[in-house]
Amino acid sequence: MINHRAIKVIYQNEMTRFFHTLFQSIASPVISTALYFVVFGSAIGSSINSIEGVSYALFIVPGLTMLSVLTQSVSNASFGIFFPKFTGTIYEILSAPISFYEALIGYVGAAASKSMILATIILITASFFVDLNIAHPIWMVAFLVLTCISFSLFGFIIGLWAGNFEKLQVVPILIITPLVFLGGSFYSVSMLPPFWQTVTMFNPVLYLVSGFRWSFFEVSDVSVTTSLAMILIFLLICFTLIAWMFKTGYKLKE
């Protein structure tokens, strides 16, 4: 007996907030995407050779999308659960006839949906600057959905764990952004010296970006199956962590 109405209202409530601030939600990714294209695509990109047969402006599209998707998934999902905890409105969730997992589906589902919408907007913006051809649309969507879900889950964990606003903001700034920038979002790993290539292999974001990029251009730093396996492993780790947090009532309930 699943409380589907509760999942629905949590999801709707989160999405309403997103649509209320639609302008902010959309303006910032659109503007930053456009800026990246002007700076990297046109100004600098024109003096960079194409990478594995793909023009530089085109090459950065998947990385750019991932950058927004990862940061937004984490920050949306973490704020989504941290805020009710912070203001005390979580009492209503805790005293309602819903399980932890139902609340999880509502919150993480909403955060992942927001990221999907965002990714779509970024890709549309990009299509104004470059001629976007997607080689494997189904794989593209699959990578996107998996990434949105796993990083929203990760964000949910951060939101549960964070005791204050600083901790909440530290993770996206100090972990996600560096990982994305160093994960081959804006360059091919093969362009790095061997030592840094090895270091980069430990960066999980590399596998996301590589797989995602493959679905566009059929060029990748690592094999697609490796990419897929890595995303699934990351998803599994997040699930396990969540299950453990739930079992111990970690920081949600005294």
């Binding site: 109405r5 203001t87 805790l94 005293s95 309602a96 006839p97």
Partner: protein
């Protein structure tokens, strides 16, 4: 009378190591209004939060309508409504959407007619499209009540419903509470004020330092707690009380300057004027009068001593 909430040996020790509830045993009757009375930090909110599922009990058990609050949490929570002590509301939600949200959380089908009537009863209907942050404190309290009633609960917890509330809202609140009671809802409320408990509750439970000191019919308790003392200071010391004053059960202090008369303010006649007449007839001259009322603290001290 059959009980709807049954609390057995319930204890709660917070993660900090603080023991907020110490082996509470309590049966709440179906359809009654129970007032939980106790000073700040007594454990009232902790008790309510445990029953509602907001905090986990350390030991003991609670059953609601025959179901365990942990094993069968869906069944127990579905029939409980909670108005929390603090005004915790999302800032940007609108009144109408927040009550619909609450109703959905409790897995109830949309029912605009019911929610419309609920908001009207709480004088909130003309505010239904207002953002919560634009409401006054009293209106926020009404919204919290509306949210708690949005799923038509059988048991309603009101945690200090009258804190920061003006006379008007207080009257409204008691009207709503009485109406709910007449429709069969069981109501548990917490308060610091004896008068409040007296005016509305069928029974009163007194909590102090995590222990339930007593639960009694309001009437019985008021008789016990309504004691006052009249202290008569005499102009000239009396070495013995005149026999004519025997029936008043007076006490004379050691040096004979003070007479203490204990009476119950809740009784029809207190007998004070007769006593004063009798004192002057007996030839004693009154210098001054003083009345001692038992404060909540005295009552607790008394209760702890007696039990």
């Amino acid at each position: 009378m059959s009980s709807i909430v049954s609390i057995k040996n319930l204890s709660k020790t917070y993660d900090s190591g603080f023991e907020a509830l110490n082996s509470i045993n309590l049966d709440i009757n179906k359809g009654e209004i129970l007032a939980l009375l106790g000073p700040n930090g007594a454990g009232k909110t902790t008790l309510i939060s445990t029953i509602c599922g907001i905090i986990s009990p350390t030991s003991g058990s609670v059953s609601v309508d025959g179901n365990d609050i942990i094993k069968d949490f869906r069944k127990t929570r579905k029939i409980i409504g909670l108005v929390p002590q603090e005004l915790t509301l999302g800032a940007f939600d609108k009144v109408w959407s927040t009550v619909n949200f609450s109703r959905g959380l409790f897995n109830r089908k949309k029912d605009d007619a019911y929610l419309k009537k609920l908001l009207k009863d709480l004088s909130l209907f003309d505010k239904k499209d207002s953002e919560l942050r634009t409401l006054s404190g009293g209106m926020k309290r009404r919204v919290l009540i509306a949210k708690a009633l949005s799923h038509q609960p059988k048991i309603l917890f009101l945690d200090e419903p009258t804190a920061g509330v003006d006379v008007e809202l207080r009257k409204d609140m008691w009207k709503i509470v009485r109406k709910l009671k007449s429709s069969g809802v069981t109501i548990i409320l917490t308060t610091h004020y004896i008068e409040e408990a007296q005016s509305i509750a069928d029974r009163v439970g007194v909590i102090n330092e995590g222990e339930l000191l007593l639960v009694e019919k309001t009437k019985t308790l008021m008789e016990r707690l309504g004691k006052k003392q009249l202290i008569v200071e005499l102009k000239e010391k009396a070495y013995q009380l005149p026999e004519t004053l025997n029936k008043y059960k007076l006490e004379l202090n050691e040096d004979g300057s003070l007479i203490t008369y204990t009476y119950n303010a809740k009784d029809g006649g207190t007998g004070i004027s007769k006593l004063l007449g009798a004192i002057s007839e007996a030839g004693l001259v009154v210098k001054d009068l003083q009345i001692n009322e038992s404060s909540l603290e005295d009552i607790f001290v008394n209760l702890v001593k007696k039990l």
